[in-house]
Amino acid sequence: METLDIHRDAAKRAAGEKLDAITGVVASGNLEVMLERVLEGTKCEVHIKTSIAGFDEVWHAVIEDFIERWSPGGLRISVNDGGARPDTVSLRLAQGVSLMEAAE
């Protein structure tokens, strides 16, 4: 099991009021994403646990792109990865942020 932590400042706070959300499943080729609105201002943290080693660069590229597109300021995001491909990771992250956009 490999772990990876990425801390960034997003452009703005994530929209919505919801305090937490969870999407996806822990399964081969898939992943589970948990989002919590617990950080100050525009800070964003992404914690990744993955079953497949050796893709740090790809993870960094996927997460940077996600933060740029979705501005998830204030969110701590935990990823439990079962070997999902980057397109699935991007999709689940985007789904997670949309879930957070709901009112509380």
Binding site: I52, F55, E57, V58, A61, V62, D65, G83, R85, P86, D87, T88, L91, A94, Q95, S98
Partner: protein
């Protein structure tokens, strides 16, 4: 005096030798190997019918069992290397040379056999090339074919899986060759005559019905959200823009996803009846919902598909059927239709380089070409216009409008990463390394980059027709290559310029939200749903049933 009839005499000698095992044309199954030993000569070109689906498996096993001192150094000229027996022929030394098209299930075994020097490879062909060479320099001396039934005169009923048989028989029978058929049953009267009996020399009732593999059944349950997103991009960004009516789909999940969202997402685009009405296509079960919804006017098929027979029999307005009611397929004619009469080919591939060349060959796997290169190539002999063809031609042209010729749309679907996180976009194709290792004169490219018009990934569509330089093409491809190394090495500024010019289109440029791309768009979400759409006429093979 020149003897102009040597082949005829030779044929008679072989017929007489084989006749010892026959009553009329009928030979008992347990005499098959003896028959083959008596009519086949060392060095013969033999076509052992291995099609995409239908296999002359009894004849294959009988040939493997032949005495090597009598039958050896054969040159096998067949489209499909599908059964282990096909490779056993080479391992045993019965055959030494091979010209073929497709090796799907044996793609790894054939790579090993080539590596060990057991096979002298002529070439890997497309179907049409190999079939054409049957009438030039690769005419079979002996053809070993498969049919459903025969009568005493040798008239054959090939039924829905006619596939390659008429072409093989034509080339062999009319050039003094010997044609031997294995059949599932001998009957008084065949349901229809697919092959006239005077082209058939010997008939054997095989102990078991010939093997047919369901190759084109894609379970909707396996279709992913990414594939649905790509299907939406293709429908809105290509189908709705070019409005092509005549097309061919590949056999992967990407095109299955398109078939499954025609009646849902496609319906919202208002293109039903205007787009994708005429098809060169195997009987894909995933097209049933679109057929039942009135999208499809006509389908001509290369072969059949296990479980689809009753459905097709009940839909003769859509499918080509015989007077007996069952499907008539014909690989050669359907390939020709795909080459000359289709405005679009769309299919998946495994690897693409920066020039848009693609291949499914890797160092340890040679699946061959099958027919994709015939579909996925602009036909330079085409001389009839259509709106879609002309529009594509205009987009690609720098020349005077009066002399603009059309272009076939050749669309490649690639998820940016494949199995085991293998990137689909690469600087150098595995096929190039393979060709170097095997010292091939020609790199086995499935579809050449200069024929490709669009590349669709989950990141967007790259329209290569609109690119004017190779540098633009490269950035257009990098610009949809996602998080692969090739994609990450893009020139971001240039990619943004290409996007402004409409060469690259993102989901948001097409008004598609990736979050909408979920399975509710699939008109059928399981094999069971397909059965229901067919009104119970589709009978999926056991391995696809979970109820």
């Amino acid at each position: 005096m020149t003897d102009w009839q040597t082949q005829k005499h030779e044929r008679q000698i072989r017929l007489d030798a084989g006749g010892k095992f026959a009553i009329g044309k009928m030979v008992a199954a347990n005499e098959t190997t003896a028959l083959l030993e008596s009519v086949i000569r060392p060095g013969d070109r033999v076509c052992l019918e291995g099609d995409n689906q239908k296999q002359a498996d009894h004849l294959a096993a009988a040939l493997v069992a032949a005495d090597k001192s009598k039958v050896h150094d054969l040159h096998i000229v067949q489209s499909g290397i599908a059964l282990p027996e096909h490779l056993d022929l080479f391992a045993k030394g019965i055959a030494t040379k091979l010209d073929f098209s497709y090796s799907g299930p044996q793609s790894e075994a054939i790579a090993r056999a080539l590596g060990s020097g057991k096979i002298q490879l002529g070439a890997i062909h497309t179907y049409l090339e190999l079939f054409s060479r049957y009438f030039m320099d690769l005419t079979p001396h002996v053809a070993l074919i498969a049919a459903i039934s025969a009568d005493r005169e040798g008239n054959l009923y090939t039924g829905p899986n006619t596939e390659d048989t008429p072409t093989i028989v034509e080339a062999t029978a009319f050039k003094n060759g010997i044609v031997i058929a294995q059949v599932n049953e001998v009957v008084d009267r065949v349901p229809r005559v697919d092959i006239p009996g005077d082209r058939i020399d010997f008939v054997i009732k095989a102990p078991k019905p010939f093997f047919v593999e369901p190759l084109f059944t894609r379970d909707p349950a396996q279709v992913t959200e990414t594939q649905i997103l790509m299907a939406m991009l293709a429908l809105k960004g290509i189908y709705a823009e070019y409005r092509m009516q005549r097309l061919n789909h590949g056999i992967g999940y990407g095109t299955a996803a398109i078939e499954l969202i025609l009646p849902t997402f496609g319906e919202t685009l208002g293109i039903k009846g205007k787009v994708a009405t005429h098809w060169a296509l195997n009987p894909h079960p995933t097209l049933i919902p679109a057929i039942e919804s009135g999208w499809v006017r006509q389908i001509h098929s290369f072969g059949s598909e296990v479980g689809m027979d009753d459905y097709m029999r009940a839909r003769p307005d859509v499918y080509f059927t015989g007077r007996d009611g069952s499907l008539r397929s014909n690989r050669t004619f359907c390939q020709v239709a795909g080459l000359y009469a289709c405005d679009m080919f769309i299919g998946a591939t495994l690897q693409m380089d920066l020039a848009g060349n693609s291949s499914t060959v890797t160092a340890d796997r040679i699946p061959g070409f099958g027919g994709a290169p015939n579909m996925g190539a602009d036909a330079h002999g085409r001389r009839h216009p259509s709106d879609a063809w002309l529009k594509a031609g205009r987009q690609a042209s720098n020349g005077p409008p009066s002399m603009t010729r059309g272009r076939k749309l050749v669309v490649q679907l690639l998820e940016t990463f494949g199995d085991k996180m293998e990137p689909s976009f690469v600087e150098k194709l595995g096929a190039v390394e393979f060709a170097e290792k095997m010292k091939l004169e020609l790199v086995p490219i499935m579809i050449y980059g200069d024929d490709v018009t669009h590349v669709v990934t989950e990141e967007g569509i790259a329209n290569l027709l609109l690119c004017r330089t190779s540098a633009e093409r490269e950035q257009a491809i990098r610009g949809v290559a996602g998080f692969t190394e090739v994609g990450r090495a893009r020139d971001r500024k240039q990619v943004e310029v290409l996007r402004q010019r409409g060469i690259i289109r993102r989901p948001e440029d097409l008004g598609i939200n990736p979050l909408d791309a979920d399975r509710h768009f699939l008109a059928a979400r399981s094999i069971k749903d397909l059965v229901n759409w067919s009104g119970g006429l589709y009978h999926p093979p056991a391995k696809f049933r979970n109820w």
